[in-house]
């Protein structure tokens, strides 16, 4: 584990208020989802998951075809598709367009993809004002923080944090009633919406047969972002495609329920091109930026390609016992939780944070709740194997490899195993049936110490399994 990761994990674990905030928020989201996918609420839930997985598999396996179909349909409706390899290309495109049109103010709706490429910072660096308009994202922009969670970005902040922040940054009185805080944000952002030259959104889905961008949200900020300014730019990863508008009957039923327990979010926008003749309002220009930024690396690996099926519902974060302890900011990149643990190393390169695939108990809760059935534990194991193979090639971590060789030898020899187990039980500290939190003096060796710094060891049972089995 890198020192930075280690430190963030320890700081999060030591912060009792933060622990409570994460626990409460995720518990509530777990509960909402649970009630939304019961047999009574959604009888065909499992069938829908199977269908969603099949559609995603098909689309990703033929992605070039659907990208071209999508592009042709966007163009046919008077929009434009812009392919970008990385963050710089996206920023250059937006900056170039802003310059041509004399734009100065940009409003943004929530988008993990633009977080991924630090778009706001890049635009602000060139003196463009780019304002986040989702309430949670707006708070985070004022606080100069990145999202803590894919769907609940500010879950780690209290209303008192927000009161202080608004007072400090907006020059308003310190207000701790959430309704009033919301009204403050509404008033500030309303003026931005009406004055903005460009609206930048993400995309929950790109529909190939329609050339459409689909956005789901609850606040109305994405509608305003895509309706009020003269120019709408949607920034989306190339994996967001689905073949047909009719497939939304599958995906929309799963997304809202898995994310927040809603049958549908308050607003679902299906946007295909600039306003048409006769339409009274809406953008006059419509662009879809299709971003690679590492996604094609993932495509090239059939075993892990399914990581691209993700629809960013956040259910795997809420249900992950590791995320629920270490929180979102311990993760090295914008994507946290189980999905972050599998896509971060694949997007950025495994050397970026090689310990990430190991930050999981492999309990499988993530796979169980994933609406598109990504086998996250399997991908984590594949990534672990890659890390270990790379270590072996480098000749690193010899001690660990030796220990596992010894372990494998022992596991193949039952008598020796039993003897070793008896010895281990004999020398292990009694601990009075309590969990062991730190290494006792005799075993205080660096590897043991490191292992126990992240974990507690359960007490050894009075009788081994083998003993119990024999007496059965």
């Amino acid at each position: 584990m890198s020192a930075a990761f280690d430190e963030k994990v320890h700081n999060t674990l030591a912060d009792a208020n933060l622990q409570l905030a994460i626990y409460r928020a995720t518990a509530r989201l777990i509960d909402h989802r649970k009630h939304a996918v019961t047999t009574a609420a959604l009888p065909d839930y499992q069938e829908l998951r199977t269908q969603a997985n099949a559609i995603k598999r098909h689309t990703i396996d033929h992605l070039d075809y659907y990208l071209e179909q999508f592009e042709a349909n966007v163009t046919g409706h008077g929009g434009k598709v812009v392919y970008c390899q990385d963050a710089t290309e996206v920023a250059d495109f937006v900056l170039g367009l802003a310059k041509e049109r004399g734009a100065q103010l940009i409003v943004k709706s929530k988008s993990m993809t633009t977080e991924e490429i630090d778009l706001n910072e890049r635009l602000e660096h060139h003196n463009l004002e780019s304002v986040e308009t989702d309430l949670g994202e707006y708070i985070l922009q004022l606080a100069h923080q990145r999202p803590y969670h894919i769907v609940a970005p500010a879950l780690h902040l209290t209303r008192y944090d927000v009161g202080d922040l608004f007072a400090r940054t907006l020059g308003v009185s310190n207000e701790t009633v959430v309704e009033k805080q919301t009204l403050i944000a509404r008033a500030v952002l309303r003026q931005k919406f009406l004055a903005a030259d460009i609206g930048i959104s993400g995309a929950n889905f790109l529909v190939a047969d329609s050339g459409a961008v689909v956005l789901v949200e609850n606040e109305g900020n994405a509608r305003l972002t895509t309706s009020a300014p003269k120019i709408h730019i949607a920034v989306a990863g190339i994996e967001k495609l689905i073949p047909r508008a009719q497939d939304l009957a599958v995906f929309l039923k799963l997304l809202g329920r898995s994310a927040t327990g809603q049958a549908l979010t308050v607003y679902t926008s299906f946007l295909s091109g600039p306003r048409r003749a006769g339409e009274i309002d809406g953008p006059e220009e419509f662009y879809v930026v299709l971003l690679d930024n590492g996604r094609t690396k993932l495509l090239a690996d059939p075993g892990k390609r399914e990581s691209l099926y993700c629809i960013r519902c956040g259910a795997c974060l809420n249900h992950c016992p590791v995320y629920r302890k270490i929180g979102g900011h311990s993760f090295p990149w914008v994507y946290s939780g189980p999905i972050g643990a599998i896509i971060t190393p694949q997007f950025l390169g495994i050397e970026h944070e090689p310990s990430l695939p190991f930050a999981s108990s492999l309990c499988g809760a993530c796979a169980e709740v994933c609406p598109v059935k990504i086998d996250i534990p399997k991908v984590l194991l594949d990534l672990r194997a890659e890390v270990k193979q790379a270590e072996q090639r480098r000749g690193a971590n010899c001690l660990e490899r030796l220990a596992f060789k010894l372990w494998a030898w022992l596991m193949c020899r039952p008598r020796f195993y039993e003897m070793a187990a008896m010895v281990a039980a004999g020398v292990a500290p009694a601990g009075n049936g309590k969990w062991l939190r730190s290494a006792p003096a005799l075993m205080n060796l660096p590897p043991v110490r490191a292992w126990l710094s992240q974990r507690d060891l359960p007490p050894s049972p009075a009788k081994s399994f083998r003993e119990l089995w024999r007496k059965r």
Binding site: I55, D61, Q85, G136, E219, R276
Partner: protein, 211 residues
């Protein structure tokens, strides 16, 4: 240019050639529930109320007009150009402005009006959603900028749900540049998961089903 580079990388990664045919996609999965009209309407109204919206089952246009008039109670409103609103006489109510075809004028009125009044192209009974297709009859900002939204919908437009909508409208993009589903009042739970209605969109929503 990155277009060719990305498409080529994608093709190489997938082992495909440019222009190569694709396998048949999984069949479309749409399940349209067979529900009679009255059950649909009752479900629609129940769903809207569960989301914190207000509802009215109006037997005719006259009753719809009376309901809207009572909600307005002296407030200012902007109404869309939907023919159905005119049929119900709603555009003639005191304080209601309508008939906008120019965006700037419409925007200025929407920015200060207390209430936005629209019809809806469809409604979805199971989720309580209004389906709004942008057109000369329905501007986007009327259901978005004012703090309250009233939708007046003829009962024939209440569908069973999303599956029926996508059966009737397999390609929404063929008709409009913008289809929006509105499911309850605008809301957020971004601060301490406390529910607040009316963030950027209307915090108050009324659905009137007529007929």
């Amino acid at each position: 240019m990155s277009r060719e580079a990305i498409l080529n990388t994608v093709r190489t990664a997938l082992g495909r050639n440019g222009g190569q045919a694709i396998a048949e996609p999984p069949p479309v999965r749409l399940r349209v529930a067979d529900v009679d009209s009255e059950t649909r309407i009752a479900s629609m109204l129940r769903a809207v109320e569960a989301l914190g919206g207000k509802t009215r089952r109006a037997p005719g246009g006259e009753d719809a007009r009376a309901y809207v008039s009572a909600v307005l109670a002296g407030k200012t409103a902007v109404a869309s150009n939907a023919p159905f609103l005119r049929e119900c006489g709603i555009v003639d109510l005191a304080g209601v402005q309508s008939g906008f075809t120019d965006e700037a004028a419409l925007r200025a009125v929407c920015a200060v009006a207390d209430v936005g009044i629209t019809s809806a192209d469809y409604a979805l009974a199971d989720t309580g959603s209004l389906v709004m297709l942008a057109s000369p009859a329905e501007a986007r900002l009327i259901s978005l900028l004012p703090p309250a939204h009233i939708a007046v919908v003829p009962k024939e437009r209440v569908l069973s749900g999303l599956d029926e909508l996508l059966t009737i409208l397999p390609l929404p993009a063929g008709q409009t540049s913008s289809m929006v589903l509105i499911t309850g009042p605008s809301r957020t739970a971004d601060i301490e998961q406390i529910l607040v209605r009316g963030v950027h969109g209307p915090g108050e929503i009324h659905v009137v089903v007529v007929g």
